[in-house]
């Protein structure tokens, strides 16, 4: 079964031809960086490019495309360095691996065929890392190996013969230490030399006779693709290998039939024919490793490693979950409460900025658009930055240190129960603070279906934006009430709301995974990498990257919707509101200057300028939003809501907490009150329906809270889902099904409550 091995191509003494190297110096080189996850690829990429890198998506897919500029030598044109996704192999059908293969064969738009491929190889884990190197050799592209973690090798009592490894592989091997920036110049030199030689590599092992026959036959036939016509033997062989043994079949019919026939012929000889190249590669790798790796001290390697010692606690039956709980608590606490300080600052800053602009410009529509639409919108985008930065600080820290894989290991059994992956745990946890960074964090889940299922349920986790709504409802109707003598009813209700979100999320995940996102439970084959001290540069880079992506992609959508919503509550201009006279606008200024925009201070705005507040209330009631509120009243009446609440629901589509400020405007309390403001609480308690009965009752309040738990009233979440899934399909589906669920649940709550005699 095992293949007949040929000795690998020897590395010739480098004889760089002057012409070739001059040609290389003149143009920009394209270098692709490939390597196993956790091999130190990101660290090397960051060390080589510094902060000169950009992130985008590959066309049509959500795989991230990272690219940077690498100064090989100061006097030469810097190279384009393309960071491929972390991979174990080029064969399987995952999108990441497909993309990597397309880059390596020059099939991605606007990325030229790489001149040199740099394979990042973890020296402590040589055998598994060499598997990808083998496949890279087979593609025939010029290759350089960057050997990382040499210091760890030493500590583990392993010695790697670099010269021997280079000879065995037939390519240059350069040990690097990214953090200390050692080996960077040597690596650049090796890349330049390899590029100027342009000597193709190739397969260095052979399969059984029958398999080789099939391979040669397939390689000899031209494909339909014109691009492939001029391919050399190594490339042809590599393509035939891929077609014969990889998961996906070639697209054109004749070729597919040829491949299927070849497979059938091989299968008659041995059922596990497909394992042959895998075994042949590992067979070859083991021989290379045997000649290259030496255990310098047998006694030392018997000692448990630091990682094993740490894991005795971190994945311990009792301590493991306890530590995970603590870690989650710290993250939760940070995004939930420590982020509120910078968030309030941003909020107040944009409030002040808006008022400053308003004070300087002539009052009118344009000023309103600028202040209430644009400035408020930009503020509404930036206000998420502290949470995103903090969450990704933690995520990068946990990923880089190796803890994230342990969290998935601990949680996998539970997550599997609803058909999700262990890796879904962290994104869902973070969604309790805010679904936006949570959804962005689902990137660690490889399988697209599992990733989308996780995104779809993330908004059910009660985020911090729901708290102002819960707080207002509880302050108005349940404050000071106790049950069983000591348990506050308010606390009990808030807890029930969190639980409701979790239970619905579990049920929905289960349903999604058994219907539209039907897929077998994702297999878990997850490396538990050794613990490492995280590199600050990697963490900073991750935070910068995430913040930038959010601003660029989600930010524009949020800004657009916020201007749209402004227009909805501004137009048509109410006839009762002539252009504000000088005295009126002075009244506005007086109101602003009393400092009512500072949150947490409950200066009743009514004291400042009652007519102005009434005017704004009148304006909103007359606006499109107001009309829409009346329009939807028949639909929301069964939930216990009247049209004024309808306006709040429409406005809160922008962001949930907007309900509070919208209700304030509608009830003539003034926009700048918060959820704890006594005047707003009174207004809510005293609001009447046309027939004189109270608009709000405790039951209406509960129904409203249930609606807020389940409805996806957050345009930022939708914008992020749009960005992460690269289409409007999923965000629209999300807002739709969550709205239906929210409606049904509120309906049951209100009507059921009334049947049970509550009011």
């Amino acid at each position: 079964m095992s293949g007949i091995l040929e000795s690998p191509a020897r590395l010739n003494e480098p004889t760089p031809e002057q012409d070739a190297s001059r040609e290389v110096e003149a143009r920009q080189l394209t270098v692709a960086l490939a390597g196993n996850p956790n091999a130190g690829k990101t660290s090397l990429f960051n060390a080589l490019t510094g902060l000169r890198q950009k992130v985008a998506n590959y066309p049509g897919v959500t795989v991230e495309r990272k690219e940077g500029v690498w100064t090989l030598q100061p006097e030469l044109a810097p190279a384009r360095l393309i960071d491929l996704p972390g991979l174990y192999s080029l064969d399987a059908a995952s999108i990441d691996e497909q993309i990597a293969r397309d880059v390596l064969t020059g099939r991605i738009e606007r990325i030229p065929l790489p001149d040199v491929v740099v394979a990042v190889v973890d020296a402590t884990n040589l055998e598994r890392n060499l598997y990808l190197v083998m496949q890279l050799l087979e593609t025939g592209r010029p290759l350089v190996v960057a050997l990382t973690m040499m210091d760890m090798c030493e500590r583990a009592g392993l010695e790697i013969d670099v010269v021997q490894l280079s000879k065995a592989l037939g390519v240059r091997v350069v040990p690097v230490a990214s953090k200390q920036r050692r080996g960077m110049d040597t690596l650049a030199e090796a890349v330049l030399q390899t590029a100027s030689e342009n000597r193709p590599t190739g397969a260095t092992w052979r399969l059984s006779e029958s398999a080789e026959r099939e391979l040669s036959a397939l390689a000899a036939v031209d494909t339909d693709d014109l691009q492939d016509k001029g391919d050399d033997d190594a490339t042809r062989r590599a393509r035939a290998m891929r077609e014969l043994y990889a998961e996906e079949l070639p697209s054109d019919d004749a070729r597919r039939d040829a491949v299927l026939e070849a497979r059938a012929r091989l299968a008659t000889n041995a059922t596990d024919w497909w394992q042959e190249p895998l075994l042949a590669r590992y067979d070859w790798i083991e021989r290379v490793a045997a000649g290259v790796v030496r255990r310098s001290d047998a006694g030392q390697s018997q000692r448990p490693s630091t990682t094993s010692l740490i894991d005795r606690f971190v994945t311990h039956k009792i301590f493991g979950p306890a530590i995970l709980f603590l870690v989650t608590l710290v993250i939760f606490q940070t995004i939930f409460s420590w982020a509120s300080l910078p968030m309030d600052l941003i909020d107040a800053g944009f409030g002040t900025l808006g008022e400053a602009v308003r004070a300087r410009l002539a009052p009118g529509l344009l000023t309103d658009l600028l202040v209430d639409g644009v400035i408020a919108g930009v503020g509404g985008v930036l206000v998420f930055l502290p949470q995103i930065l903090l969450l990704f600080f933690f995520i990068a820290l946990l990923e880089d240190s190796g803890y994230m894989a342990r969290a998935a290991f601990l949680m996998d059994r539970l997550m599997r129960g609803v058909g999700l992956h262990g890796k879904a745990f962290m994104p869902l946890m973070s969604s309790f603070a805010c679904a936006i960074p949570g959804i962005m964090a689902t990137r660690t889940i490889e399988n697209p279906k599992d990733r989308i299922a996780t995104m779809m349920i993330a908004p059910f986790m009660s985020c911090s934006a729901r708290l102002p709504v819960y707080t207002l409802m509880i302050a108005a109707f349940f404050s000071g009430q106790k049950t069983l003598g000591f348990v506050s009813v308010g606390a009990l209700i808030i807890m029930s709301m969190y639980l409701l979100g979790i239970v619905v999320a579990i049920v929905v995940a289960w349903i999604l995974k058994h219907t539209i996102l039907k897929a077998p439970p994702p297999p878990l084959v997850l490396e538990l990498p050794p613990y490492r001290v995280p590199a600050l540069l990697n963490i900073v880079e991750t935070m910068r990257e995430r913040a930038w992506l959010f601003l660029k992609r989600a930010g524009t959508v949020i800004l657009t919707i916020s201007i749209l919503l402004w227009a909805l509550i501004t137009f048509p201009r109410s006839e009762a509101t002539p252009v504000p006279s000088v005295s009126e606008s002075a009244g506005v200024q007086a109101m602003r200057e009393t400092g009512v925009e500072a949150r947490g201070e409950s200066v009743p705005a009514t004291d400042a300028a009652p007519e102005e507040v009434t005017r704004r209330g009148e304006q909103v009631r007359q606006s499109f939003a107001g009309r829409m509120g009346r329009l939807i009243e028949p639909a929301i009446a069964p939930l216990g809501f009247d049209w004024k609440m309808g306006i709040g629901l429409i406005a809160s589509f922008a962001a949930r907490e907007t309900l509070v400020s919208t209700l304030s405007i509608v009830y003539n309390v003034g926009a700048e009150t918060d959820e704890a403001s006594p005047s707003l609480i009174d207004a809510v308690r005293n609001a009447k329906r046309p027939d004189g009965s109270p608009a709000w009752t405790p039951l209406v309040a509960v129904s409203m809270m249930v609606f807020f738990v389940l409805a996806c009233q957050c345009m930022s979440t939708l914008a992020v889902v749009r960005r992460e899934t690269n289409s409007w399909r999923w965000p629209l589906f999300m807002v739709g099904y969550m709205l239906v669920l929210a409606y049904i649940a509120s309906f049951i709550t209100y009507q059921g409550g009334r049947l049970l005699g509550f009011s």
């Binding site: 192999s89 399987a92 598994r128 590992y282």
Partner: protein, 96 residues
Amino acid sequence: MKEFANKEKEAGTTNRRVGTTTLDVLPTGLAARVVAVDGEGAVARRLMEMGVVPGAPVRVIKAAPLGDPLEVRVRGYHLALRRAEAHTIIVIPRES
């Protein structure tokens, strides 16, 4: 020919050779070698790509707190996999 293939498959799910067992029931801490990966498709391929091929040394380090997945040491690194996946890996304990 087909009959032969079926027999092969049957033999794979039980013990292929005297003394072999599957990785999910291998006692924790006991050193073993992979005899075969019994299974097809993406998971079997991924396992083999990651070095779980016949001859590779394996050892179960521990089970997660809820009993599943398992932490396994193979070729000097640590891998988490579910019992269902571990069941497809046939191993033979190494003589001490």
